[in-house]
Every structure is written in structure tokens, then in C-alpha cells.
């Protein structure tokens, strides 16, 4: 199968999942106890505003008609209007999306930068002290609340130690973003790196015992070259999949981390909208977050197929 054919097949596979995602997001509003419109408007609820929302959301119609209308709007990129700001929810999300994408991208890069050397160290020194230390990382690391790690990093690097990093905000320009986003991205990376270390170490151990590594060694290649060119290159394939599978956890983590560092991304938008009871915006952010995850699944499948041509012929 060609790469193009493979991508198309994966895309088709994602259609029912994306549909399901929209159903769940749609039903969020029906989970609100009592009359959603009245509950959401809270003390701003006047009969006129409630009636307007009922009409806007079509709450007076049969549920399948409501969903159909909802889908019609979503397909046209219309995610409803913010109840708090007089702009569309989609506009608010688009405005803030770059911040979150920066955070996710930089976080993923940093997590790989942390995980690869540590896993390589552990796998090459199997059952010796470095290995034991690295194996303790996932055990301990997964129990760290991401937002608390953020606060501690802020305390150490933002408020003390020469105040090397800003304590909040997004900065301006590429270098500015990089500087401002470093601590938040590091926080994201600390959350995901333990998972990567565990899987990369396991796959490295497996690869190091394979025939082609033995062959490479018997050719007299230096161990460092065997590790980097032969072993790591193959072990990284499974790490990309693990990163892809855990992207949901990574993306969800940004939600809280944006709150800690006061980053104006869509996570912060979601939390603020929750306290303003701005339902359409919460719905829009939830939808965008999950579509992002679905796209990353696709991306990680494609990268996997590029790195390892065998998967295309499954």
C-alpha cells in the first residue's frame, strides 16, 4: 500500500470516532441539571434570555433535530456565540490556539529530549545503578501533580535562582515565546517523560538483543554508533506511537499548566469560561481539544508509517 492510501484508510477510520466526539460534546448540555438555559445563565437568567437561548440551541425541538442543527453549525465552523464576550466561540478559540500549540509542541520536544538519553543510559547499563535510578523515574514521576510541578519550577527558576524565567505570560516574538514557554513546556515534559522512558527503555532492550545489532557489533562498529544508528533509530519508532497514544494526557495537562503560568491559551479560556458559565465556549474548547487529539493520532500513525514502512502492509 502506498503512503497516500494508508493515510486515506486511517482518515476513514477516524470518521466514526470524530462523529462520536461531536455526539458527546453535544450531549454535554443535556447533562446540565434542570433547565440548561436557566442554569447556565444563573443570576442573569431573565425569561427573555432563557427563551432566546432555548431558541438558539433549539432545546424545544426533538433531540435528533437538535443534534442535526448542531452538526450543521459545526461543519460550517460555527461553534456558537460566547455568552460573555459578544464574539463567536470559534473566534476566541482560534485567537488563543497558537499558545496551546506552542506549549504542546515544545513540551513534546522537551519530553523526548529528556526521555531518550535517560532510556539509552538505562538500557546500556542494564541492572546496574544507572538503570535502577532511571527505572525509579516513572514510579515516582507519575505521581507528581503537573500543576504542582509547575508551581515548584516557578518557585525555583522564576522567583529564585536569578529569576531566569518569566513567572507568567506568553512573551512576544519567537525568542520571547521560547523564553516564556520554556518552564511551562518543561512542566508538560515532566508529566509525559516518565511514560516515554519506560517504553523506550523496554524497546531499546529488545532491539539491543536483536540480530542486526549483533551483526553491527560483529562488524566492529563502535558501541556508540551501534546505539545511535542502529538501536535508537529503531526503538524510537515505538516511542512515537507511545507519545501518540498518550497525547491525550499531554494535551489535557496543558489545560492546568496554562492556569499555573497564566498563559492565554485555550486551556485558560476553558477554565475562565467555566467560571463565567459560558457554555458555548466550554463546548467549543472541548471539541477543539478532542479533534486535536484525533489529528495527532493520525499524525503519529503517519510518522510511524514513515519511520517503519512495515506497518503500511499490515
Amino acid at each position: 500500500m502506498t503512503l497516500g492510501g494508508y493515510v486515506v484508510r486511517r482518515l476513514l477510520h477516524l470518521v466514526p470516532i470524530t462523529l462520536g466526539v461531536t455526539v458527546l460534546v453535544f450531549f454535554l448540555i443535556h447533562l446540565v441539571p434542570g433547565d440548561p438555559a436557566a442554569t447556565i445563565l444563573g443570576n442573569q437568567a431573565t425569561p427573555a434570555r432563557v427563551a432566546l437561548l432555548h431558541h438558539e440551541w433549539g432545546l424545544d425541538r426533538p433531540i435528533y433535530v437538535q443534534y442535526w442543527k448542531f452538526m450543521g453549525r459545526v461543519v460550517h465552523g460555527n461553534l456558537g456565540d460566547s455568552l460573555f464576550y459578544s464574539v463567536s466561540a470559534g473566534h476566541l478559540v482560534l485567537q488563543r490556539l497558537p499558545v496551546t500549540l506552542w506549549l504542546i509542541g515544545l513540551g513534546a520536544l522537551l519530553s523526548v529530549a529528556i526521555a531518550v538519553p535517560l532510556a539509552a543510559l538505562a538500557a546500556t547499563k542494564r541492572d546496574r545503578l544507572p538503570d535502577h535510578l532511571v527505572r525509579a523515574v516513572p514510579l515516582l514521576g507519575l505521581g507528581f501533580p503537573p500543576f504542582w510541578v509547575g508551581i515548584v519550577l516557578l518557585l525555583v527558576f522564576g522567583l529564585n535562582l536569578g529569576r531566569a524565567f518569566p513567572v507568567g505570560g506568553y512573551g512576544s516574538g519567537f525568542v520571547g515565546h521560547l523564553h516564556s514557554m520554556f518552564l511551562p513546556a518543561l512542566t508538560v515534559a515532566f508529566g509525559i517523560a516518565p511514560i516515554l522512558i519506560r517504553s523506550l527503555r523496554a524497546s531499546l532492550l529488545e532491539v539491543l538483543e536483536s540480530d542486526y545489532v549483533t551483526t553491527a557489533r560483529s562488524k566492529g562498529l563502535p558501541e556508540s554508533r551501534v546505539l545511535v544508528r542502529h538501536a535508537l533509530r529503531n526503538a524510537i519508532v515505538s516511542t512515537v506511537s507511545v507519545l501518540g497514544v498518550n497525547i491525550g494526557y499531554l494535551v489535557g495537562g496543558t489545560l492546568v499548566i496554562e492556569q499555573v503560568y497564566a498563559l492565554p491559551g485555550i486551556g485558560q479560556l476553558m477554565i475562565n469560561s467555566i467560571f463565567q458559565r459560558d457554555f458555548p465556549v466550554v463546548q467549543a474548547v472541548t471539541l477543539v481539544f478532542s479533534i486535536m487529539v484525533v489529528l495527532v493520532y493520525l499524525l503519529s500513525d503517519v510518522v510511524h508509517a514513515l519511520l517503519d514502512p512495515r506497518v503500511r502492509f499490515d
Partner: protein, 289 residues
């Protein structure tokens, strides 16, 4: 024949248990996990005995005090005793986390059993649901659900159940797919036993181990979720002490009283470590030899 098959299963289970009793103290991670967690649970249970202030009683004349013999870990911005809030917070957060893991465990296991055993369209639909839920980032869906349902512990249970059942279903379904081709299941089937009896008497005891091991590490995730919700102001509602809320409250005083945010965080980390060690040890112990 079927009865004989049941006897075999029972004998295996008993053998397993005997092995467990013989080996648990020789598994260091299990012992360490039980010790850490045991101490925390003990402290939480004995909260009124080991604290001399109420967790919610304010003393506005003595706010933001450092550690002293009167207040072991000092006081917060409302003059509440930090040690007392920490210990009572363990009560709240552990209780919610343990209960929160039960519902997804039970529901996910049941769905996984049925989907794996019957296959066909039941399995297809289950898989679709699983894939849809997995497409949502964990925290995004939990927070969105708690927002829609309203905050409070009951809705935390509901949100965690809606998000959490999929992992158990995946694990159990995978195990059942393998186990249902084993001789003891085929024997039970040909012996004419009802599906319900095969599912619960024969399959369940053999496939549930992996789910139990996962549940131990899942509690870690749940504690983090509960504390995160508390931090965001969507979790356990005040005045109930909760570690997440304590971290959030302390963040305002980070420059002057850094310990207010760090201490409850360390409590979370130690609790999670205890649970992770327990899960690791259990996985070792329950692994078939």
C-alpha cells in the same frame, strides 16, 4: 465435566492465593507500598487524635505563622492549622479516590467481559464508545463533565466513571479474547453451563487480575484528578479540606510562604508513590509463574 472444570479453576485460585501469602513479604515494592500507604491511611483515620486544631477553625490573629510547637506546620492565610488540614485532607482525598476507582472498575470490567465474550456487534459498538472516550484528553473531559454536572464529590464520581471505564474494558476484553479459547471455558460451554455462570464463575476470576493491578495505578491518576479539580476550584467544596485547594490557596503567598503550596504537594507525591509501589508489587505477585 463442567463441575470438574470449576473445581480446577477453584484449585488454581486457591493455589494462587497460597502463593500470594507465601511471597508477598519477599516483594520489596509491595512491602514498601503497603507501609507508606498504611501510614497515610492510619494518619487519616486517626486524624482527631493526632491533631489539636480543627481543620476549618480560623484564628485570624495568628495567620501565616511559621512552624511552632502549637502549630507543627504553621498556619495558613486564615490562621488555620496546616498539619490538621493536611491530615484531614488525606481523609477527604483518599476516600474520594478509593470510591472513584470502584465504579469504573466494576462497570468497565462488566462491559469488557460481555464485549470480549460475545464479540460481534456488541464488541463493535463497545469499541466505538471506547475510541470516542479515548479521543478526549483525560482532564478536558473530566473538567467539562464536572462543569456540566456541577461540582461536588458525587459529580466527581460520575465524571471519573464516564472517563475511566474504558481502560478496564480494554484490559478485560483483551484478556477474555484469549481466555475464551482456553480449554476450561470450552469445557464449561460444552457442559451446558449458562453464559452468566461461565462469565462470572469461570472467566472473571481468571481475567480480573490485570484489572486489579491497573486499578492500583488508576487510583494515582484519580488522586491527581481530584487534587487538580480542587486546585481549579471545581473539586471537593470548601470548607472540606482538600490538598488541591490548599496548593491553590498557598500559591498567592508563594514569594513569602512557599511551604503552604509545597507541603500538600509533597503529600500527594508520597501517597502516589505508595500506590505506585503497591501496584508494581501486586503486578509482580500476581504474575503467573
Amino acid at each position: 465435566m463442567a463441575v470438574a472444570a470449576e473445581a480446577v479453576v477453584e484449585a488454581q485460585v486457591i493455589e494462587h492465593r497460597r502463593g500470594f501469602a507465601r511471597r508477598w513479604y519477599r516483594t520489596p515494592s509491595f512491602v514498601a507500598g503497603v507501609t507508606i500507604l498504611g501510614l497515610i491511611v492510619l494518619a487519616a483515620l486517626a486524624a482527631p487524635l493526632i491533631t489539636n486544631h480543627g481543620p476549618t477553625s480560623q484564628d485570624l490573629l495568628n495567620t501565616l505563622q511559621g512552624p511552632s510547637s502549637k502549630h507543627w506546620l504553621g498556619t495558613d492565610d486564615l490562621g488555620r492549622d496546616v498539619w490538621s488540614r493536611l491530615v484531614y485532607g488525606a481523609r477527604t482525598d483518599l476516600k474520594v479516590a478509593f470510591l472513584a476507582v470502584l465504579f469504573p472498575f466494576a462497570i468497565g470490567t462488566l462491559i469488557g467481559l460481555v464485549a470480549g465474550y460475545y464479540g460481534g456487534w456488541v464488541d463493535t459498538i463497545t469499541n466505538w464508545f471506547v475510541n470516542v472516550v479515548v479521543a478526549f484528553p483525560f482532564y478536558v473531559l473530566i473538567i467539562a463533565l464536572v462543569f456540566a454536572l456541577g461540582s461536588g464529590t458525587r459529580n466527581i464520581y460520575i465524571a471519573i466513571t464516564i472517563v475511566g471505564w474504558v481502560s478496564y474494558t480494554r484490559i478485560i476484553r483483551g484478556e477474555v479474547l484469549v481466555a475464551k479459547r482456553r480449554d476450561y471455558v470450552l469445557a464449561a460451554k460444552s457442559g451446558g453451563l449458562s453464559d452468566a455462570r461461565i462469565l462470572f464463575r469461570h472467566l472473571l476470576p481468571n481475567v480480573v487480575t490485570q484489572a486489579i493491578v491497573f486499578a492500583c495505578s488508576d487510583i494515582v491518576l484519580d488522586i491527581l484528578a481530584i487534587v487538580t479539580l480542587g486546585y481549579l476550584g471545581l473539586g471537593v467544596q470548601p470548607p472540606n479540606p482538600d490538598w488541591g485547594r490548599m496548593i491553590a490557596d498557598g500559591q498567592t503567598y508563594l514569594t513569602t510562604h512557599w511551604e503552604l503550596s509545597t507541603i500538600p504537594g509533597i503529600a500527594v507525591v508520597i501517597t502516589a508513590l505508595g500506590l505506585s509501589l503497591l501496584a508494581d508489587g501486586l503486578a509482580d505477585l500476581l504474575r503467573p509463574e
